[in-house]
Amino acid sequence: MHRLWNRIDFAFSSAWQNFWRNAAVSVASVLIVWVVLLALGSLLLVLHSLDQIVALEKTKASAISVYLADTTPLGSAMDFKLHLENDPRVTNVIYVSKDQAMARFRQLPALDPSVIDTLGTNPLPASLDVTVRDIRDLAAIDQEVRSSPLVDKSPATNYEPNVIDKIILLARVAGIAGLVLIIGLTGLSVFIIMLTIRTAIYLRRKEIEVMKLVGATDWFVRWPFIVEGLIVGVVGAAVAVLIVGFGYRPAVINLQSVLIFIPLAFDPAYLRVVLAAMLVFGLLLGSVGSYLGVRRFLKQ
Protein backbone atom coordinates (compact mmCIF):
# COMPACT_ATOMS: atom_id res chain seq x y z
CA MET A 1 0.00 0.00 0.00
CA HIS A 2 2.75 2.32 1.05
CA ARG A 3 4.81 1.36 -2.00
CA LEU A 4 1.86 1.79 -4.29
CA TRP A 5 1.30 5.25 -2.90
CA ASN A 6 4.98 6.10 -3.40
CA ARG A 7 4.76 4.90 -6.99
CA ILE A 8 1.60 6.91 -7.71
CA ASP A 9 2.95 9.99 -5.97
CA PHE A 10 6.22 9.82 -7.89
CA ALA A 11 4.51 9.20 -11.24
CA PHE A 12 2.03 12.04 -10.86
CA SER A 13 4.41 14.66 -9.48
CA SER A 14 7.00 13.87 -12.17
CA ALA A 15 4.35 13.89 -14.89
CA TRP A 16 2.99 17.22 -13.69
CA GLN A 17 6.51 18.70 -13.67
CA ASN A 18 7.15 17.31 -17.16
CA PHE A 19 3.93 18.82 -18.43
CA TRP A 20 4.89 22.33 -17.31
CA ARG A 21 8.60 22.03 -17.95
CA ASN A 22 7.95 21.81 -21.68
CA ALA A 23 4.70 23.71 -21.57
CA ALA A 24 4.70 24.82 -25.22
CA VAL A 25 4.97 21.27 -26.52
CA SER A 26 2.42 20.03 -23.98
CA VAL A 27 -0.07 22.71 -25.03
CA ALA A 28 0.43 21.76 -28.68
CA SER A 29 -0.43 18.16 -27.94
CA VAL A 30 -3.45 19.17 -25.84
CA LEU A 31 -4.65 21.29 -28.78
CA ILE A 32 -4.36 18.51 -31.30
CA VAL A 33 -6.18 16.10 -29.00
CA TRP A 34 -8.85 18.74 -28.57
CA VAL A 35 -9.26 19.14 -32.34
CA VAL A 36 -9.50 15.38 -32.89
CA LEU A 37 -12.14 14.97 -30.22
CA LEU A 38 -14.11 17.98 -31.38
CA ALA A 39 -14.18 16.50 -34.89
CA LEU A 40 -15.13 13.09 -33.52
CA GLY A 41 -17.93 14.42 -31.32
CA SER A 42 -19.35 16.67 -34.06
CA LEU A 43 -19.25 13.89 -36.63
CA LEU A 44 -21.07 11.46 -34.35
CA LEU A 45 -23.78 14.03 -33.64
CA VAL A 46 -24.22 15.03 -37.30
CA LEU A 47 -24.48 11.41 -38.41
CA HIS A 48 -26.98 10.76 -35.66
CA SER A 49 -29.14 13.70 -36.85
CA LEU A 50 -29.02 12.44 -40.43
CA ASP A 51 -30.09 9.00 -39.20
CA GLN A 52 -33.05 10.53 -37.42
CA ILE A 53 -34.04 12.48 -40.54
CA VAL A 54 -33.84 9.34 -42.68
CA ALA A 55 -35.98 7.44 -40.17
CA LEU A 56 -38.58 10.21 -40.20
CA GLU A 57 -38.61 10.50 -43.99
CA LYS A 58 -39.17 6.79 -44.31
CA THR A 59 -42.39 6.99 -42.29
CA LYS A 60 -43.58 9.78 -44.57
CA ALA A 61 -42.60 7.96 -47.75
CA SER A 62 -46.01 6.60 -48.67
CA ALA A 63 -47.69 10.01 -48.55
CA ILE A 64 -47.71 13.00 -50.88
CA SER A 65 -49.16 16.48 -50.47
CA VAL A 66 -50.86 17.86 -53.58
CA TYR A 67 -50.92 21.67 -53.30
CA LEU A 68 -54.05 23.39 -54.58
CA ALA A 69 -54.06 26.77 -56.27
CA ASP A 70 -55.60 29.53 -54.12
CA THR A 71 -58.16 30.11 -56.90
CA THR A 72 -59.58 26.59 -56.61
CA PRO A 73 -63.13 26.64 -55.21
CA LEU A 74 -63.80 24.31 -52.31
CA GLY A 75 -66.34 22.34 -54.38
CA SER A 76 -63.82 21.58 -57.13
CA ALA A 77 -61.31 20.60 -54.49
CA MET A 78 -63.81 18.14 -53.01
CA ASP A 79 -64.54 16.68 -56.46
CA PHE A 80 -60.83 16.24 -56.99
CA LYS A 81 -60.55 14.61 -53.57
CA LEU A 82 -63.33 12.16 -54.49
CA HIS A 83 -61.65 11.44 -57.81
CA LEU A 84 -58.44 10.56 -56.02
CA GLU A 85 -60.22 8.47 -53.40
CA ASN A 86 -61.75 6.38 -56.18
CA ASP A 87 -58.33 5.57 -57.51
CA PRO A 88 -57.57 1.94 -56.51
CA ARG A 89 -53.96 2.77 -55.75
CA VAL A 90 -54.96 5.34 -53.13
CA THR A 91 -55.87 4.35 -49.59
CA ASN A 92 -56.66 7.71 -48.05
CA VAL A 93 -57.02 11.40 -48.94
CA ILE A 94 -57.20 14.25 -46.42
CA TYR A 95 -58.11 17.83 -47.27
CA VAL A 96 -55.94 20.40 -45.48
CA SER A 97 -57.24 23.97 -45.72
CA LYS A 98 -55.03 27.05 -45.85
CA ASP A 99 -55.81 27.75 -42.18
CA GLN A 100 -54.99 24.21 -41.15
CA ALA A 101 -51.74 24.42 -43.10
CA MET A 102 -50.88 27.60 -41.23
CA ALA A 103 -51.73 25.97 -37.90
CA ARG A 104 -49.38 23.07 -38.70
CA PHE A 105 -46.72 25.48 -39.80
CA ARG A 106 -46.93 27.35 -36.51
CA GLN A 107 -46.17 24.13 -34.69
CA LEU A 108 -42.74 23.73 -36.29
CA PRO A 109 -40.39 23.77 -33.34
CA ALA A 110 -37.88 26.41 -34.35
CA LEU A 111 -40.22 28.96 -35.83
CA ASP A 112 -40.57 32.34 -34.23
CA PRO A 113 -44.36 33.06 -34.20
CA SER A 114 -43.81 36.80 -34.55
CA VAL A 115 -42.20 36.22 -37.95
CA ILE A 116 -45.41 34.62 -39.21
CA ASP A 117 -47.52 37.46 -37.94
CA THR A 118 -45.56 39.96 -40.01
CA LEU A 119 -46.54 38.06 -43.17
CA GLY A 120 -50.06 39.54 -43.08
CA THR A 121 -51.76 37.22 -45.56
CA ASN A 122 -51.41 33.46 -45.40
CA PRO A 123 -48.99 32.33 -48.12
CA LEU A 124 -49.54 28.61 -47.57
CA PRO A 125 -51.67 26.67 -50.07
CA ALA A 126 -54.42 24.25 -49.19
CA SER A 127 -53.54 20.66 -49.98
CA LEU A 128 -54.79 17.13 -50.45
CA ASP A 129 -52.64 14.72 -48.49
CA VAL A 130 -52.71 11.47 -50.42
CA THR A 131 -51.56 8.18 -48.94
CA VAL A 132 -50.91 5.30 -51.33
CA ARG A 133 -50.93 1.54 -50.94
CA ASP A 134 -47.61 1.05 -52.68
CA ILE A 135 -44.79 3.61 -52.62
CA ARG A 136 -43.91 2.73 -56.24
CA ASP A 137 -47.21 4.27 -57.41
CA LEU A 138 -46.27 7.70 -56.05
CA ALA A 139 -44.47 8.80 -59.19
CA ALA A 140 -47.47 8.05 -61.48
CA ILE A 141 -49.92 9.83 -59.18
CA ASP A 142 -47.56 12.79 -58.97
CA GLN A 143 -47.51 12.97 -62.79
CA GLU A 144 -51.29 12.80 -63.04
CA VAL A 145 -52.14 15.47 -60.48
CA ARG A 146 -49.64 17.91 -61.98
CA SER A 147 -51.73 18.08 -65.16
CA SER A 148 -54.86 19.16 -63.24
CA PRO A 149 -55.69 22.91 -63.52
CA LEU A 150 -56.71 22.95 -59.87
CA VAL A 151 -53.20 22.26 -58.71
CA ASP A 152 -50.79 25.00 -57.74
CA LYS A 153 -47.79 25.22 -60.04
CA SER A 154 -45.13 26.40 -57.61
CA PRO A 155 -44.68 23.81 -56.24
CA ALA A 156 -47.29 21.32 -57.37
CA THR A 157 -46.54 18.62 -54.84
CA ASN A 158 -43.99 17.83 -52.18
CA TYR A 159 -43.06 14.67 -54.08
CA GLU A 160 -39.27 14.26 -53.66
CA PRO A 161 -38.51 10.75 -54.89
CA ASN A 162 -34.84 10.72 -54.02
CA VAL A 163 -34.87 12.55 -50.74
CA ILE A 164 -34.13 9.49 -48.63
CA ASP A 165 -31.46 8.30 -51.03
CA LYS A 166 -29.95 11.78 -51.00
CA ILE A 167 -29.87 11.94 -47.24
CA ILE A 168 -28.40 8.46 -47.00
CA LEU A 169 -25.78 9.44 -49.54
CA LEU A 170 -25.06 12.63 -47.63
CA ALA A 171 -24.70 10.65 -44.40
CA ARG A 172 -22.38 8.20 -46.11
CA VAL A 173 -20.20 10.92 -47.64
CA ALA A 174 -20.10 12.87 -44.39
CA GLY A 175 -19.32 9.68 -42.51
CA ILE A 176 -16.47 8.66 -44.79
CA ALA A 177 -15.00 12.17 -45.06
CA GLY A 178 -15.24 12.58 -41.29
CA LEU A 179 -13.72 9.19 -40.67
CA VAL A 180 -10.78 9.92 -42.98
CA LEU A 181 -10.27 13.28 -41.29
CA ILE A 182 -10.43 11.73 -37.83
CA ILE A 183 -8.07 8.89 -38.73
CA GLY A 184 -5.59 11.43 -40.11
CA LEU A 185 -5.89 13.65 -37.07
CA THR A 186 -5.62 10.64 -34.76
CA GLY A 187 -2.36 9.62 -36.37
CA LEU A 188 -1.09 13.18 -36.12
CA SER A 189 -2.07 13.54 -32.48
CA VAL A 190 -0.49 10.22 -31.47
CA PHE A 191 2.68 11.38 -33.23
CA ILE A 192 2.68 14.76 -31.49
CA ILE A 193 2.05 13.19 -28.08
CA MET A 194 4.91 10.81 -28.80
CA LEU A 195 7.19 13.78 -29.57
CA THR A 196 6.04 15.50 -26.38
CA ILE A 197 6.95 12.42 -24.36
CA ARG A 198 10.29 12.11 -26.15
CA THR A 199 11.02 15.72 -25.24
CA ALA A 200 10.12 15.03 -21.62
CA ILE A 201 12.35 11.96 -21.62
CA TYR A 202 15.19 13.98 -23.09
CA LEU A 203 14.81 16.62 -20.40
CA ARG A 204 14.91 13.89 -17.76
CA ARG A 205 17.68 11.80 -19.29
CA LYS A 206 20.04 12.28 -16.33
CA GLU A 207 17.38 11.24 -13.86
CA ILE A 208 16.53 8.19 -15.96
CA GLU A 209 20.19 7.24 -16.10
CA VAL A 210 20.43 7.43 -12.31
CA MET A 211 17.13 5.59 -11.86
CA LYS A 212 18.34 2.68 -13.94
CA LEU A 213 21.69 2.72 -12.21
CA VAL A 214 20.23 2.40 -8.72
CA GLY A 215 17.81 -0.32 -9.78
CA ALA A 216 14.48 1.26 -10.66
CA THR A 217 12.27 -1.09 -12.67
CA ASP A 218 11.39 -0.28 -16.28
CA TRP A 219 7.79 0.38 -15.37
CA PHE A 220 8.73 2.69 -12.55
CA VAL A 221 10.72 4.74 -15.08
CA ARG A 222 7.90 4.61 -17.63
CA TRP A 223 4.91 5.49 -15.49
CA PRO A 224 5.54 9.24 -15.16
CA PHE A 225 5.61 9.54 -18.95
CA ILE A 226 2.51 7.42 -19.45
CA VAL A 227 0.74 9.57 -16.86
CA GLU A 228 1.90 12.70 -18.69
CA GLY A 229 0.33 11.34 -21.90
CA LEU A 230 -2.88 10.60 -20.00
CA ILE A 231 -2.92 14.15 -18.63
CA VAL A 232 -2.61 15.50 -22.18
CA GLY A 233 -5.45 13.22 -23.32
CA VAL A 234 -7.72 14.11 -20.42
CA VAL A 235 -7.18 17.87 -20.65
CA GLY A 236 -7.73 17.88 -24.43
CA ALA A 237 -10.81 15.69 -24.03
CA ALA A 238 -12.21 17.75 -21.17
CA VAL A 239 -12.13 20.96 -23.21
CA ALA A 240 -13.74 19.25 -26.20
CA VAL A 241 -16.37 17.58 -24.00
CA LEU A 242 -17.32 20.92 -22.46
CA ILE A 243 -17.66 22.58 -25.87
CA VAL A 244 -19.69 19.77 -27.42
CA GLY A 245 -21.71 19.22 -24.26
CA PHE A 246 -22.76 22.82 -23.93
CA GLY A 247 -22.74 23.65 -27.65
CA TYR A 248 -24.93 20.82 -28.96
CA ARG A 249 -28.31 22.26 -27.93
CA PRO A 250 -27.68 25.85 -29.17
CA ALA A 251 -26.27 24.40 -32.41
CA VAL A 252 -29.42 22.34 -33.00
CA ILE A 253 -31.66 25.33 -32.27
CA ASN A 254 -29.71 27.65 -34.55
CA LEU A 255 -29.59 25.14 -37.36
CA GLN A 256 -33.30 24.46 -36.99
CA SER A 257 -34.08 28.14 -37.47
CA VAL A 258 -32.25 28.00 -40.81
CA LEU A 259 -33.41 24.57 -41.95
CA ILE A 260 -37.06 25.07 -41.06
CA PHE A 261 -38.50 22.08 -42.90
CA ILE A 262 -35.88 19.57 -41.74
CA PRO A 263 -36.78 18.13 -38.38
CA LEU A 264 -33.67 18.22 -36.15
CA ALA A 265 -33.87 16.76 -32.69
CA PHE A 266 -31.86 17.24 -29.53
CA ASP A 267 -31.05 13.81 -28.11
CA PRO A 268 -29.53 14.06 -24.61
CA ALA A 269 -29.15 10.29 -24.16
CA TYR A 270 -27.08 10.05 -27.33
CA LEU A 271 -25.09 13.14 -26.31
CA ARG A 272 -24.03 11.42 -23.10
CA VAL A 273 -22.77 8.43 -25.07
CA VAL A 274 -20.85 10.73 -27.42
CA LEU A 275 -19.23 12.64 -24.54
CA ALA A 276 -18.20 9.40 -22.81
CA ALA A 277 -16.77 8.12 -26.10
CA MET A 278 -14.78 11.35 -26.52
CA LEU A 279 -13.29 11.04 -23.04
CA VAL A 280 -12.34 7.41 -23.59
CA PHE A 281 -10.84 8.23 -26.98
CA GLY A 282 -8.82 11.09 -25.43
CA LEU A 283 -7.40 8.73 -22.82
CA LEU A 284 -6.64 6.23 -25.55
CA LEU A 285 -4.78 8.82 -27.65
CA GLY A 286 -2.76 9.89 -24.60
CA SER A 287 -1.82 6.39 -23.53
CA VAL A 288 -0.97 5.10 -27.00
CA GLY A 289 1.09 8.21 -27.81
CA SER A 290 3.04 8.07 -24.58
CA TYR A 291 3.51 4.32 -24.76
CA LEU A 292 5.05 4.71 -28.21
CA GLY A 293 7.14 7.55 -26.77
CA VAL A 294 8.62 5.49 -23.95
CA ARG A 295 8.82 2.16 -25.70
CA ARG A 296 11.85 2.58 -27.88
CA PHE A 297 13.81 4.88 -25.62
CA LEU A 298 13.71 2.60 -22.62
CA LYS A 299 14.58 -0.56 -24.53
CA GLN A 300 18.26 0.26 -24.35
Binding site: H2, N6, V210, L213, V214, F220
Partner: protein, 241 residues
Protein backbone atom coordinates in the same frame (compact mmCIF):
# COMPACT_ATOMS: atom_id res chain seq x y z
CA UNK B 1 21.41 -22.25 -11.94
CA UNK B 2 24.40 -23.42 -9.92
CA UNK B 3 24.04 -23.62 -6.17
CA UNK B 4 25.55 -20.71 -4.33
CA UNK B 5 27.90 -22.00 -1.68
CA UNK B 6 29.97 -19.94 0.69
CA UNK B 7 33.03 -21.02 -1.22
CA UNK B 8 31.77 -19.76 -4.58
CA UNK B 9 33.33 -16.48 -5.63
CA UNK B 10 31.02 -13.49 -5.54
CA UNK B 11 32.07 -12.35 -8.98
CA UNK B 12 33.16 -14.97 -11.46
CA UNK B 13 34.13 -14.37 -15.09
CA UNK B 14 35.02 -17.29 -17.32
CA UNK B 15 36.50 -16.86 -20.80
CA UNK B 16 34.58 -13.62 -21.27
CA UNK B 17 34.77 -11.96 -24.67
CA UNK B 18 33.23 -8.64 -25.54
CA UNK B 19 33.09 -7.39 -29.10
CA UNK B 20 31.13 -4.21 -29.76
CA UNK B 21 28.83 -4.01 -32.78
CA UNK B 22 31.38 -1.82 -34.59
CA UNK B 23 33.89 -4.68 -34.40
CA UNK B 24 36.03 -3.32 -31.56
CA UNK B 25 37.20 -6.14 -29.33
CA UNK B 26 37.08 -4.74 -25.79
CA UNK B 27 37.76 -7.90 -23.80
CA UNK B 28 39.21 -11.24 -24.83
CA UNK B 29 39.26 -14.43 -22.80
CA UNK B 30 38.95 -12.76 -19.42
CA UNK B 31 38.78 -15.16 -16.49
CA UNK B 32 38.58 -13.64 -13.05
CA UNK B 33 37.39 -14.62 -9.60
CA UNK B 34 36.64 -12.17 -6.86
CA UNK B 35 35.68 -13.60 -3.47
CA UNK B 36 33.43 -11.91 -0.95
CA UNK B 37 34.88 -8.91 0.90
CA UNK B 38 37.80 -8.61 -1.49
CA UNK B 39 39.26 -5.21 -2.34
CA UNK B 40 40.49 -5.11 -5.92
CA UNK B 41 42.13 -2.43 -8.02
CA UNK B 42 41.51 -2.69 -11.72
CA UNK B 43 44.33 -0.91 -13.53
CA UNK B 44 45.41 -0.37 -17.09
CA UNK B 45 45.68 2.32 -19.75
CA UNK B 46 42.65 4.10 -21.17
CA UNK B 47 40.74 1.90 -23.56
CA UNK B 48 42.20 -1.27 -22.08
CA UNK B 49 38.75 -2.60 -21.20
CA UNK B 50 38.34 -1.53 -17.55
CA UNK B 51 35.09 0.33 -18.12
CA UNK B 52 33.76 -2.46 -20.32
CA UNK B 53 34.40 -4.91 -17.50
CA UNK B 54 32.50 -2.68 -15.07
CA UNK B 55 29.63 -2.30 -17.54
CA UNK B 56 29.43 -6.06 -17.97
CA UNK B 57 29.15 -6.56 -14.20
CA UNK B 58 26.05 -4.35 -13.91
CA UNK B 59 24.90 -5.75 -17.25
CA UNK B 60 24.76 -2.46 -18.98
CA UNK B 61 26.40 -4.57 -21.68
CA UNK B 62 26.12 -8.29 -22.36
CA UNK B 63 29.18 -10.45 -22.91
CA UNK B 64 29.61 -11.71 -26.46
CA UNK B 65 30.69 -15.10 -25.11
CA UNK B 66 31.81 -16.68 -21.85
CA UNK B 67 29.95 -16.59 -18.55
CA UNK B 68 29.70 -13.95 -15.87
CA UNK B 69 28.27 -14.82 -12.49
CA UNK B 70 27.48 -12.23 -9.89
CA UNK B 71 26.19 -13.51 -6.55
CA UNK B 72 25.71 -16.90 -8.22
CA UNK B 73 23.52 -15.42 -10.97
CA UNK B 74 24.43 -16.04 -14.60
CA UNK B 75 24.12 -12.57 -16.11
CA UNK B 76 23.60 -13.83 -19.66
CA UNK B 77 20.48 -15.64 -18.45
CA UNK B 78 19.25 -12.84 -16.23
CA UNK B 79 15.86 -11.63 -17.48
CA UNK B 80 15.53 -7.97 -18.19
CA UNK B 81 12.83 -7.57 -15.57
CA UNK B 82 15.17 -9.00 -12.92
CA UNK B 83 17.97 -6.63 -13.84
CA UNK B 84 16.90 -3.85 -11.43
CA UNK B 85 17.23 -6.26 -8.51
CA UNK B 86 20.81 -7.05 -9.54
CA UNK B 87 21.56 -3.33 -9.68
CA UNK B 88 20.25 -2.89 -6.14
CA UNK B 89 22.90 -5.35 -4.93
CA UNK B 90 25.66 -3.37 -6.62
CA UNK B 91 26.59 0.14 -5.57
CA UNK B 92 28.20 2.19 -8.35
CA UNK B 93 30.10 5.44 -8.46
CA UNK B 94 31.72 7.20 -11.39
CA UNK B 95 34.31 9.80 -12.18
CA UNK B 96 31.57 12.32 -13.01
CA UNK B 97 29.47 11.59 -9.88
CA UNK B 98 26.15 11.56 -11.79
CA UNK B 99 24.33 13.65 -9.18
CA UNK B 100 21.10 15.43 -10.05
CA UNK B 101 21.84 19.17 -9.96
CA UNK B 102 18.31 20.26 -9.07
CA UNK B 103 18.12 18.03 -5.99
CA UNK B 104 19.72 18.64 -2.61
CA UNK B 105 22.21 16.25 -1.04
CA UNK B 106 19.43 14.63 0.96
CA UNK B 107 17.13 14.40 -2.07
CA UNK B 108 19.87 12.95 -4.27
CA UNK B 109 20.40 10.11 -1.81
CA UNK B 110 16.68 9.70 -1.11
CA UNK B 111 16.02 9.55 -4.86
CA UNK B 112 17.67 6.11 -5.05
CA UNK B 113 15.25 4.80 -2.42
CA UNK B 114 12.19 6.49 -3.85
CA UNK B 115 12.62 5.18 -7.36
CA UNK B 116 13.21 1.64 -6.12
CA UNK B 117 10.00 1.75 -4.13
CA UNK B 118 11.82 1.69 -0.84
CA UNK B 119 8.78 3.44 0.52
CA UNK B 120 8.83 6.75 2.30
CA UNK B 121 8.55 5.46 5.87
CA UNK B 122 12.13 4.29 6.32
CA UNK B 123 13.59 6.79 3.93
CA UNK B 124 14.74 9.50 6.32
CA UNK B 125 16.64 7.35 8.85
CA UNK B 126 18.31 5.41 6.04
CA UNK B 127 19.43 8.55 4.22
CA UNK B 128 20.74 10.02 7.46
CA UNK B 129 22.60 6.80 8.19
CA UNK B 130 24.46 6.71 4.87
CA UNK B 131 25.17 10.45 4.96
CA UNK B 132 26.82 9.99 8.35
CA UNK B 133 28.91 7.07 6.98
CA UNK B 134 30.33 9.35 4.28
CA UNK B 135 30.67 12.26 6.73
CA UNK B 136 28.21 14.70 5.21
CA UNK B 137 26.04 15.43 8.25
CA UNK B 138 24.91 19.03 8.12
CA UNK B 139 25.15 19.29 4.32
CA UNK B 140 21.74 17.74 3.65
CA UNK B 141 20.18 20.89 2.21
CA UNK B 142 23.11 21.87 -0.02
CA UNK B 143 22.89 21.49 -3.78
CA UNK B 144 25.67 19.66 -5.68
CA UNK B 145 27.08 22.89 -7.15
CA UNK B 146 27.57 24.21 -3.61
CA UNK B 147 29.88 21.29 -2.77
CA UNK B 148 33.52 20.48 -3.51
CA UNK B 149 34.34 17.61 -5.86
CA UNK B 150 35.22 15.36 -2.95
CA UNK B 151 31.95 16.13 -1.22
CA UNK B 152 30.03 15.43 -4.42
CA UNK B 153 31.70 12.05 -4.72
CA UNK B 154 30.73 11.35 -1.09
CA UNK B 155 27.11 12.08 -1.96
CA UNK B 156 27.39 9.63 -4.86
CA UNK B 157 28.91 7.04 -2.51
CA UNK B 158 26.12 7.61 0.02
CA UNK B 159 23.57 7.12 -2.74
CA UNK B 160 25.27 3.89 -3.78
CA UNK B 161 25.08 2.64 -0.18
CA UNK B 162 21.35 3.09 0.48
CA UNK B 163 20.51 -0.43 -0.66
CA UNK B 164 23.24 -1.98 1.49
CA UNK B 165 24.99 -3.35 -1.59
CA UNK B 166 27.02 -6.57 -1.46
CA UNK B 167 29.34 -5.24 -4.14
CA UNK B 168 30.67 -1.74 -4.64
CA UNK B 169 32.02 -0.77 -8.08
CA UNK B 170 33.92 2.48 -8.48
CA UNK B 171 34.89 3.53 -12.00
CA UNK B 172 37.72 6.10 -11.73
CA UNK B 173 36.17 7.61 -8.58
CA UNK B 174 39.17 9.87 -7.98
CA UNK B 175 39.67 10.84 -11.61
CA UNK B 176 38.42 14.39 -11.04
CA UNK B 177 39.82 14.89 -7.55
CA UNK B 178 43.05 16.29 -6.14
CA UNK B 179 45.40 13.87 -4.32
CA UNK B 180 44.36 14.80 -0.77
CA UNK B 181 40.68 14.43 -1.58
CA UNK B 182 41.40 11.21 -3.45
CA UNK B 183 42.88 9.73 -0.31
CA UNK B 184 39.78 10.63 1.66
CA UNK B 185 37.65 8.81 -0.88
CA UNK B 186 39.94 5.77 -0.70
CA UNK B 187 39.64 5.76 3.09
CA UNK B 188 35.91 5.75 2.67
CA UNK B 189 36.07 2.79 0.26
CA UNK B 190 38.27 0.90 2.72
CA UNK B 191 35.74 1.60 5.44
CA UNK B 192 32.95 0.27 3.23
CA UNK B 193 35.08 -2.79 2.49
CA UNK B 194 35.68 -3.30 6.21
CA UNK B 195 31.89 -3.42 6.72
CA UNK B 196 31.83 -6.55 4.57
CA UNK B 197 31.24 -5.17 1.07
CA UNK B 198 33.32 -6.33 -1.86
CA UNK B 199 34.96 -3.32 -3.51
CA UNK B 200 36.30 -3.12 -7.03
CA UNK B 201 37.87 0.11 -8.14
CA UNK B 202 39.00 0.87 -11.67
CA UNK B 203 41.69 3.54 -11.56
CA UNK B 204 44.59 5.31 -13.19
CA UNK B 205 45.88 6.51 -9.85
CA UNK B 206 49.29 4.92 -9.60
CA UNK B 207 50.24 6.44 -6.26
CA UNK B 208 47.20 5.10 -4.46
CA UNK B 209 47.57 1.60 -5.90
CA UNK B 210 51.26 1.48 -5.02
CA UNK B 211 50.75 2.63 -1.42
CA UNK B 212 47.71 0.46 -0.68
CA UNK B 213 49.28 -2.88 -1.61
CA UNK B 214 45.96 -4.55 -2.30
CA UNK B 215 45.00 -7.04 -4.97
CA UNK B 216 45.70 -5.59 -8.43
CA UNK B 217 44.19 -6.83 -11.68
CA UNK B 218 45.89 -5.25 -14.69
CA UNK B 219 44.20 -5.18 -18.08
CA UNK B 220 45.85 -4.33 -21.36
CA UNK B 221 44.37 -4.70 -24.81
CA UNK B 222 41.30 -6.39 -23.37
CA UNK B 223 43.27 -9.11 -21.59
CA UNK B 224 44.24 -9.64 -17.96
CA UNK B 225 48.02 -9.36 -17.99
CA UNK B 226 48.57 -9.53 -14.24
CA UNK B 227 46.62 -10.49 -11.14
CA UNK B 228 48.50 -10.33 -7.87
CA UNK B 229 47.74 -9.86 -4.21
CA UNK B 230 49.40 -6.88 -2.55
CA UNK B 231 50.50 -5.62 -5.97
CA UNK B 232 51.59 -2.27 -7.36
CA UNK B 233 50.36 -0.26 -10.34
CA UNK B 234 53.08 -1.69 -12.57
CA UNK B 235 54.56 -5.17 -12.71
CA UNK B 236 57.44 -5.71 -10.22
CA UNK B 237 60.01 -5.95 -13.01
CA UNK B 238 59.08 -2.50 -14.27
CA UNK B 239 58.86 -1.04 -10.79
CA UNK B 240 62.52 -1.72 -10.08
CA UNK B 241 63.52 0.74 -12.79
Amino acid sequence: MAAVSEAAPQIHLEHVEKTYPNGTVALRDVTLEIPKQDFVFLVGPSGAGKSTLVRLLIREEKATSGTIRVEGQDLSRLKRRHLPYLRRKIGMVFQDFKLLPNLTVFQNVAFALRVTEGGLRHLKPKVEEVLSIVGLEGKETKFPDQLSGGEQQRVAIARALVHDPRIFLADEPTGNLDPATSWEIIQLLLQINARGTTVMMATHNREIVDVMRRRVVAIEGGQIVRDEDAGGYHAPALESH
